[in-house]
Each structure stands twice: as structure tokens, then as C-alpha cells.
């Protein structure tokens, strides 16, 4: 009983005394790596892809979702994204528009074909599941420097090469996470694995990103993402079938008026 109170306190004070100097010491390196990651991926312009999402419950039963996505790079702001659902049939044509912002809440809208209306979604929901999957919105929205504090932890072997292991602490209080740990491939500065920790600092989910392919000689994109929830034993696979770049999409395709026309 007494231990139950004292142990966490001791651990906490230990952790604080150990972590504080470390954190400040490596702050610079973590941020530098993050900037390098962002800059290496800059300039891709716009893209489109076909995606299948496979949801699995603890017993292994599966359910599929099909969607098309389009994305537009915004040099001075967060990226814009448009997702159109094809399956299940009863949500076919429903379109989700997201304007992410590096340092403020994302703007989100949903077009509901049954109502023929565009509805705005409250954006504190970034921690919530996307389409009932193990992916939260914040896992899928674009990588922005201002969204995190970075802390370089170590180098670690991963597969055939070496990974930079970075700890990312979300800046937004409405994030569902206390932190995430990213294994960034040192060659192409893309994540191979991300561990997400919940607000009580327990490991919640692990995302593994596989089948990286090179586009436009510069941009690496994964084609299979698997998110496993360690607490509920549920998992979701995100399988990207096809990605095309330079599709000619412009900002006009990513506003709320365009949302109603999206098919």
C-alpha cells in the first residue's frame, strides 16, 4: 500500500532528474533531424492514391474500407488532403476534406451525399479513430515541425540499415498521445516504425511502414502501413495500391465548394 504511493513518486523524481538535462542536451539534434526529414520531402507538389483499409478485431475478424485520396503540398502551411470513400457502399461518395495547420487546429469538413450538405467537424477530435480504425486522424495528417518537440534518443540498427530514433512530444494538448518514438531510416529519412504512447505513458500502438517505393527520383512512399493496438489487440492495415504525382490538382480542388463536386 505504502509502496504503491511512494514508488511512482520516486520513479517520477528520478525520471525528472535524469531526463531534464538529457532532453535539453539533445534537443538540437532531434530538431535538426526533423528539419532534414521535412526538407528532403519538400517539393512533391500533389498526389493521388488508391487505398484499402483492413480493420481487424481481437478475434481476427476483418472488415474492409476502400477510399481514394488526394493531397496537395502547401509550402507555407500544412498540407491539404481530400479523401473520398468508396466502400462500404452506404458511405460511398462521402468526402472528407482536411486543411492541416502547423501550429493551430486543423480545419475539417465532411460532405454527406445523403444530405447533399457539407458539414464542418469540430477539430479537437484529432485523437479519435479514423473510420473506426486504429489510425487516429493525427496519425494520418501531414508531418509538420511545429506540431512536436523533438528529442534524439540514439542510433539503432533496423533491417539492413541504421535508424535514427527520435522521440516526438506533441505540442497540442488535444493530442491523444503523451509521446511517440520514431525509427527514421537514416538513408531516406522516412519512418520505418512508430510507437505511440497514451496519456498515461503506456505503449498504445505500433505503426510499421513497409514497401517503400521511390517516386520522382526523390520521394519515398510506403505502400503498406500496419497499426497494431497493443491494449485492445485490434489492428488496421492501410494498403496503398497506386500513387501518382503531378496530377494537376490545385488549391481550388481542396476547398469546400469543390468538396460537393468530389466524386
Amino acid at each position: 500500500m505504502r509502496n504503491a504511493i511512494i514508488t511512482p513518486l520516486v520513479l517520477l523524481s528520478l525520471a525528472l532528474s535524469l531526463l531534464t538535462p538529457l532532453a535539453s542536451a539533445d534537443d538540437g539534434k532531434g530538431l535538426a533531424i526533423a528539419k532534414e526529414r521535412k526538407s528532403r520531402d519538400a517539393g512533391w507538389g500533389d498526389s493521388e492514391s488508391l487505398t484499402t483499409m483492413v480493420l481487424r478485431n481481437a478475434a481476427g475478424a476483418e472488415s474492409k474500407r476502400e477510399m481514394r485520396t488526394a493531397a496537395l503540398e502547401m509550402p507555407d502551411d500544412g498540407d491539404k488532403g481530400l479523401t473520398i470513400f468508396d466502400e462500404p457502399r452506404d458511405v460511398r461518395g462521402t468526402a472528407f476534406l482536411n486543411h492541416s495547420h502547423p501550429s493551430s487546429e486543423d480545419d475539417q469538413w465532411l460532405y454527406l451525399p445523403a444530405l447533399k450538405r457539407v458539414k464542418r467537424i469540430a477539430s479537437r477530435n484529432k485523437s479519435g479513430p479514423f473510420m473506426g480504425s486504429e489510425f487516429a486522424y493525427e496519425d494520418l495528417s501531414s508531418f509538420e515541425i511545429a506540431k512536436f518537440h523533438f528529442n534524439y534518443l540514439r542510433d539503432e540498427a533496423c533491417g539492413d540499415s541504421t535508424c535514427l530514433v527520435i522521440e516526438q512530444t506533441p505540442a497540442d494538448e488535444y493530442s491523444g498521445y503523451s509521446k511517440s518514438v520514431v525509427w527514421l531510416n537514416q538513408q531516406y529519412y522516412q519512418p520505418e516504425k512508430i510507437e505511440f504512447y497514451d496519456k498515461k505513458h503506456s505503449l498504445l500502438k505500433t505503426l510499421t511502414l513497409q514497401d517503400y517505393q521511390l517516386y520522382l527520383d526523390k520521394y519515398w512512399r510506403p505502400h503498406k502501413l500496419r497499426m497494431v493496438n497493443h491494449q485492445t489487440a485490434k489492428s488496421t492495415d492501410l494498403i496503398i495500391h497506386k500513387i501518382s504525382f503531378n496530377t494537376g490538382r490545385t488549391a481550388a480542388d481542396f476547398d469546400t465548394n469543390a468538396l460537393q463536386r468530389a466524386r
Partner: protein
């Protein structure tokens, strides 16, 4: 053979003691493997059908293991700035509970409202700075009118609120996980109690129950075993009047108990509500053997025998009875293996092994111990027992009244057996003295906290839950449920659909109804799901392909028979009205509800087996079919009387009581054995029935009432247990053991006098 063995023991007492010590140390070292297990699953076999259904449902949806924190202001309402702030802070803090995956309260309720053309989904109380009179009024209005909240997270009268923490234990070290989770909630309660002394907090939920199972079992071990020990010492002092004799007895009892617990540890058995009382039961059962051995020895010493001769005399006299009575007791307890409840089988096996070990130690170690201890003759002067003699005369004189009179009384009590009904409610296993039961009882007055049943209704196709006809079906079912008198609350996705439909139409109350098209329903739901924050999603109500939904029904406090009847009633309703959909029900209350009936059925089936086995043992030991047959009625009657009295006194039979008939049979049979053995001896010596009855009374009468007193007191100690399973078992067993003595003193001799009138020379 018997002589040689006894000669060996008395020739090398130190060798005997040394090898006993070695054996005991070896066996007892298993104690370090023992642990208390806090988990309601200890009551159920892995293939229990209701448990399997429950786990399947938990796999398809999210787990429902929970801690519920009840928040009750000593006076006044919930709806003021202070209490709402407290709920909000405690809700936030509750997310830190180990293994928590979800926290629900009125403050983080995802309130939906139409905001012009948008759908606003937000915590009912997002920020305590918002709390002005208007906001408080809004919260009050929403909370008390929201059907998903009332009776679940807020009492109808607004006097009590609750925070429900859903946890998902990894089940790697479940005990520790339950302990950590509960201790966190307890700490939370302590912290907030210090800050808000005017508010009472109550912990309940499955985790609290699991914790209480282990905690109260440990409490039983810490209180009952020492009490029993003191009782034993007092009884020994009164019976033996010899400090060294008492010491020898205590040594035998202690090594029998540590060896039993050690063997249980080696066998991988854990301590639980049931097995924690094995030491208490063993003390009770073992003390009788030792008392017989020592008393006989003292008798021989008193008439001037040498110590060696006195021990020999005692062993000659007691070896057979000690073995037979131990064996019958062990058989009685071994029949618990036929129970549907694993921990009751553990109880049976541990006690059976312990009784046989106690038997072994009483006939091997005890004589050696008595030999090396400087024991002197007891101070009891053996005199003609006037009481027993008077009793014998009374029975002989009044046999014509006693026989029909006792028969009538026995039949009368037996007829009351039908007043008993099986009832197993997990929360009622706990005594009202326990904190857990007090919390539950308090919460049950305001919320339906203790008895949920989950129904899963499957549409049979992917996205089927979005079909208007399906939503209408579950909506109808929900309304039907609410009309049932035992239902306190229904949580159904159909209410969410209706609310969303209204929200999507600018808040127009006319649209508070099920959407009319599948794509409409699906898109509203998609929009709503996209608006929910971490942990407050719909995964606990909808499965992954949205083919099925889980409806949680909170019931008022009802018995296990009523809960299984309700389940049947509801499933029949669904099968009749909506044959296209498949439905199932599961919950902890249902698992407990079903176990009682099934366990009772299997225990009643094994009762004849136990009776046959034990009677055969009697036939064998007395070498007389006739005596075995005569013993049947006095062996069965005590349990019949006991359960009759129980029917009149309580009428509720739980798992603990279902085993009493079998286990008490092995104990009460001892009285009959002793009485009949002496009677038979006298008859064979040529005495008539009357003389033989008098002889039996004079030789074993006193011993019988002494052992009965020891057993009754011993089992009565169990009445102090925090578990009704154990206290009821202790009480009823004590009643039955006492009834056995009455039957053996008043009925059996009258029966023998009336029917065993053959001339003694023909006596077989």
C-alpha cells in the same frame, strides 16, 4: 502387523520424528508457490459456456472490465460549480488509471448539438472556466434528460454521479494488474476525499469485485485462522487438561496444515475464497483424531499402565476408527471434484489430502511424540458417565415415543427442503460488513451498478447496423426492455441514431427518430464517429464490420433465477419478433446466474455416489451388510434436517451450500460408525439390544458429544468469514453435524431397539 508397526514406532521414536520432519519440510516448502488469486473467473472452468460467450463478446467488442467511482455529495445536488469541477478533474485524472482504455462521466459525455449547418460534438463540460449559472443549468438539463446517462452515470434525482473507467488488462499477471488498477482508483479516491471532505466516494465494478475476492480471502486467512487456533487451544485445554498433550496435538495439526498447503502449492493450486478456509476446516477435523488417541492413552496411564503400554492400548483402540472416519471424510470431500466450480474442487482435494495426512500423522507421528514427551496421566478421573447412562435409560424407556416422534420430526424438516432455491449473485457472496458490498449496496440505491447484461444483435451482413429496419428493431427491443420491471437502464446505438438525425436537421425535435435510409444513417454515424476523441469511440457498441451492435442493459438487483429467466425472456422476444437477426447475451451476472443451477445439479447427482461409497466402506469396516443398511437413514437424515432448517431460515442456496450435503456426509457418518461399532460388539458378546444400546452410550456417548462440540464450534468459526459462501457453509455444516448427534442419540437407538430384536445367538 499392527503390533510390529507400533513396536517399530515406539522402539525408534526419534527416527519416526526425524523422518516426519523431513517429509513435512519437503511438502511444506511448496507454500512459497501459493498466492491469492483475485479474479471472478476462479469460479468457472475454462469451458464454461457462459464464460466462453462472455469472452467471445469481449473479443468482438471492447472489454467491459471496469471500475466505477460513485460520487455522492453529503448534501445538496451535483449541479454546482464545485462538484462539477470535481467530476471534471477526477475524470481527467482517471485516464491515468493503469490499463484504462476508456473513461466515461457526465463531464466528458460527447454532447452533440446542431450549430447552424454544422454538427458540434463536444465534452459536456470541456473547461471548468465555462461554469457559470447558465452553463450549469445546461449541463443539468442535458445530463438529466440524456437517456444514455440517466441511471448509468447520473442518478435520476441528481444526487449521485459516477465515473466509469473501462480497463483492458493484458492478463500476463492478472493478479498484479487487478491490484495495481484498484490501488490507483483507491489512491484517486483518497486524494479527492482529502480535497473534498464533504463528498463520499464509492468504488465498485468488476475490478473492485476481483480485488475484493482476493483481499477478503486474505482477510479471512488473517483473522479466521488465528481465531480457530485460539479456539482449538481452548478446547484442547478443556478436553485434555494436559499442556503437553495439547502441544502434541497442536504439532500434529500444524504439520498436517503446512504439508497440505505445501502440496497444494506444488500442485499449482492458488488460494481463493474457497481454499483459504482449508486450514480452518482441517484444524476442526484433525483435532478429533488426536483427542481420541490422547484421551485413551491418559485413561490407560490413569489405571496404572506404563507409558509404552498406554500408547499401545490407545493405538489398538483407535487405529481402526481413526482410519475409517478419516477415509469417509476424505471421500465426502473428494466428491467435490464433480462440482462445476474449480475452486470448490480445489477445496475438496486439499481437505481430503489434509485429512489423510492428519490421519497418517496421528497414527505414526503422534505416538512417537507422546512417547518422547514427559506426559503424565490426565487429571480427568474416569467415572461412570451418569449423563450418558441416564440418556440411555431415557431412550430405552421412551423408544415407542421416540421412534415415531423422531421420524415425524425428520420428515417435517425434510419437507421444508423445497423452500430452498438456488441463488448465486456474485455481490451477495460478500458479507455486508465488507467495504465492497457496502459500496455496491449504496450505489444500487441510486444507479443500476451491479448487474449489467449485454445483448449482441447481429444483422447478418456488413454495415447492417445502418439499415433503418435494423435500427428500428433494436429501438423496439430497447423500448420493450425499458418496459420490463427489472430493467433500470438501456444503452443502445438506436438512441444515438435518433439524436444524430435530430442534430442533422437543425435540432428539430420532429426528427428525433430513426433515419429513413441506410446511406443517411451510415453517413450520420460516420460523421459522428469522426468527431469523437480518443477512447470515446463506438467500438464498444459496434463491431468492426458494423454487422452487429451491443446493447447494454442494467438490471435492478435481482436473484440469479430471475436473471437467467430474464435472459431467456429477452432472447425469446427477439427470436419471435426479429427472426432474421441472431442474438446472444452475456455478462458476469449471467455466468454466475447459470453456475448455481448447473453446480447444484452435478452435486445432487454425485450425492448418491458418495452415499454408496461411504456405506460400502462402513459395510467393509463392520463386516456386516446389515449394519451398513441400518446406517443409511441416520446418515442421510442430518443433511435433510439441515437443509430443511435452511429452507425455513434463509431459503437461498449458493455455491458454498451446494457442497455441504456431500462434505457433511463424510463427517456425520463417523457418529453412526462409532455407535454401531460398539453396539455390534456388545451384541456379538451375547447382549440383547437394550444392553447393547446402553453399552454403546456408555463407551462412545461422551466421545461423540465431545467431537460434535469440537466440529460444531470449528465450523461455526467459518461464520465469521467475510464471504457468505463460507459463513453459510460453516453454519449449515454445524447445523447438520449437530443434527447428526441428535439423530444418533435419539433415533438410531430407538430404531435398533424396535427392529433389531433377534436373539443374540443368531446375531450376524
Amino acid at each position: 502387523m499392527r503390533e510390529r508397526w507400533l513396536g517399530l514406532v515406539l522402539k525408534h521414536p526419534w527416527w519416526v520424528l526425524l523422518s516426519t520432519l523431513l517429509l513435512v519440510v519437503l511438502m511444506s516448502s511448496g507454500i512459497s508457490q501459493l498466492y491469492f488469486r483475485g479474479d471472478f473467473r476462479i469460479f468457472f472452468a475454462d469451458d464454461n459456456p457462459q464464460l466462453l460467450a462472455f469472452e467471445r463478446m469481449q473479443d468482438e467488442f471492447n472489454k467491459t472490465d471496469n471500475i466505477l467511482i460513485g460520487i455522492a455529495p453529503a448534501e445538496g445536488s451535483m449541479f454546482n460549480k464545485e462538484v462539477l469541477t470535481l467530476i471534471k478533474q477526477m475524470t481527467d485524472a482517471a485516464w491515468q488509471t493503469p490499463y484504462s482504455i476508456r473513461v466515461d462521466s457526465i463531464t466528458n459525455f460527447q454532447h452533440t448539438q446542431a450549430d447552424e449547418d454544422d454538427l458540434l460534438v463536444e465534452d459536456l463540460l470541456l473547461n471548468t472556466n465555462q461554469l457559470d449559472a447558465a452553463k450549469i443549468a445546461t449541463i443539468r438539463h442535458v445530463a438529466l434528460n440524456e437517456i444514455t446517462l440517466v441511471n448509468r452515470l447520473i442518478a435520476k434525482d441528481g444526487q449521485l454521479a459516477a465515473i466509469n473507467i473501462t480497463v483492458q488488462l493484458p492478463e500476463l499477471d492478472k493478479n498484479k494488474e487487478v491490484f495495481d488498477t484498484y490501488k490507483f482508483a483507491e489512491q484517486l479516491k483518497a486524494d479527492f476525499s482529502a480535497r473534498y471532505p464533504q463528498i463520499n466516494f464509492h468504488l465498485s465494478g468488476v475490478i473492485a469485485m476481483n480485488y475484493a475476492f482476493a483481499h477478503e480471502a486474505e482477510h479471512d486467512a488473517k483473522t479466521l485462522i488465528p481465531i480457530m487456533f485460539i479456539v482449538i487451544v481452548i478446547m484442547l485445554a478443556a478436553l485434555l487438561r494436559s499442556a503437553l498433550g495439547a502441544l502434541a496435538t497442536v504439532i500434529v495439526i500444524v504439520i498436517a496444515i503446512t504439508s497440505t498447503l505445501g502440496l497444494a502449492g506444488w500442485a499449482g493450486i492458488f488460494l481463493s475464497t474457497a481454499t483459504v478456509n482449508v486450514p480452518t476446516i482441517l484444524m476442526t477435523l484433525a483435532v478429533a483424531d488426536c483427542v481420541h488417541v490422547i484421551a485413551s492413552m491418559q485413561f490407560a496411564l490413569g489405571r496404572g499402565d506404563s507409558k509404552k503400554d498406554a500408547i499401545s492400548f490407545s493405538m489398538q483402540r483407535n487405529l481402526g476408527p481413526v482410519f475409517i472416519t478419516s477415509a469417509t471424510t476424505a471421500i465426502g470431500f473428494l466428491t467435490l471434484n464433480f462440482s462445476e466450480v474449480p475452486i470448490l474442487a480445489d477445496l475438496g482435494n486439499m481437505t481430503a489430502v489434509g485429512v489423510m495426512l492428519a490421519c497418517l500423522f496421528s497414527i505414526v507421528t503422534l505416538p512417537a511424540l507422546l512417547y518422547v514427551l514427559p506426559i503424565k496421566a490426565g487429571k480427568i478421573t474416569v467415572q461412570q458417565d451418569t449423563v450418558m447412562n441416564a440418556l440411555a435409560s431415557f431412550v430405552i424407556r421412551r423408544k415407542n415415543v421416540l421412534f415415531p416422534g423422531m421420524l415425524l420430526i425428520m420428515a417435517g424438516f425434510a419437507s421444508l427442503i423445497s423452500l430452498n432455491t438456488v441463488n448465486d449473485e456474485a455481490v451477495k457472496y460478500f458479507s455486508t460488513r465488507t467495504e465492497f458490498r457496502q459500496s455496491i449496496d449504496f450505489l444500487d440505491q441510486h444507479l443500476a451498478a451491479s448487474m449489467p447484461i449485454d445483448f449482441v444483435i447481429n444483422s447478418g451482413q456488413s454495415s447492417g447496423v445502418n439499415q433503418p429496419e435494423f435500427i428500428n428493431a433494436i429501438d423496439q427491443f430497447g423500448q420493450w426492455l425499458m418496459q420490463q420491471p427489472e430493467v433500470a437502464h438501456v444503452n443502445s446505438i438506436s438512441d444515438t441514431f435518433k439524436r444524430l438525425n435530430q442534430n442533422m436537421h437543425g435540432g428539430d425535435p420532429a426528427y428525433y427518430r430513426v433515419p429513413t435510409a441506410q446511406d443517411e444513417a451510415a453517413q450520420y454515424l460516420l460523421m459522428y464517429e469522426m468527431s469523437l476523441p480518443y477512447g470515446l469511440d463506438l467500438n464498444n457498441q459496434l463491431n468492426v464490420d458494423k454487422s452487429a451492435t451491443r446493447i447494454t442493459v442494467a438490471l435492478k438487483n435481482i436473484g440469479s433465477k430471475e436473471i437467467t429467466a430474464f435472459e431467456q425472456h429477452a432472447l425469446t422476444y427477439l427470436a419471435e419478433h426479429y427472426p432474421a437477426y441472431s442474438a446472444s447475451a452475456a455478462s458476469t451476472a449471467l455466468i454466475f446466474g447459470h453456475i448455481g443451477e448447473r453446480n447444484m445439479a452435478s452435486m445432487l447427482q454425485t450425492l448418491p455416489l458418495a452415499l454408496v461409497l461411504i456405506s460400502l466402506l462402513l459395510v467393509f469396516s463392520m463386516r456386516s451388510w446389515r449394519m451398513g443398511f441400518i446406517s443409511l437413514l441416520p446418515n442421510i437424515a442430518p443433511a435433510a434436517i439441515g437443509f430443511g432448517i435452511w429452507g425455513w431460515y434463509s431459503g437461498e442456496v449458493n455455491l458454498g451450500l451446494s457442497i455441504v450435503a456431500s462434505l457433511s456426509l463424510g463427517i456425520v457418518v463417523d457418529d453412526t460408525v462409532h455407535f454401531l461399532a460398539k453396539y455390534q460388539y456388545a451384541r456379538k458378546e451375547g447382549q440383547n439390544a437394550e444392553q447393547a444400546v446402553r453399552y454403546a452410550f456408555n463407551t462412545v456417548g461422551r466421545a461423540l458429544w465431545i467431537t460434535t462440540a469440537v466440529l460444531v464450534i470449528g465450523f461455526s468459526v467459518l461464520m465469521l468469514s467475510s464471504f457468505h459462501l463460507n459463513s453459510d457453509m460453516g453454519l449449515l455444516t454445524a447445523i447438520i453435524i449437530f443434527a447428526a448427534l441428535v439423530v444418533d442419540f435419539l433415533f438410531l437407538p430407538a430404531f435398533l431397539l424396535k427392529f433389531d430384536t433377534k436373539e443374540s445367538k443368531n446375531y450376524a
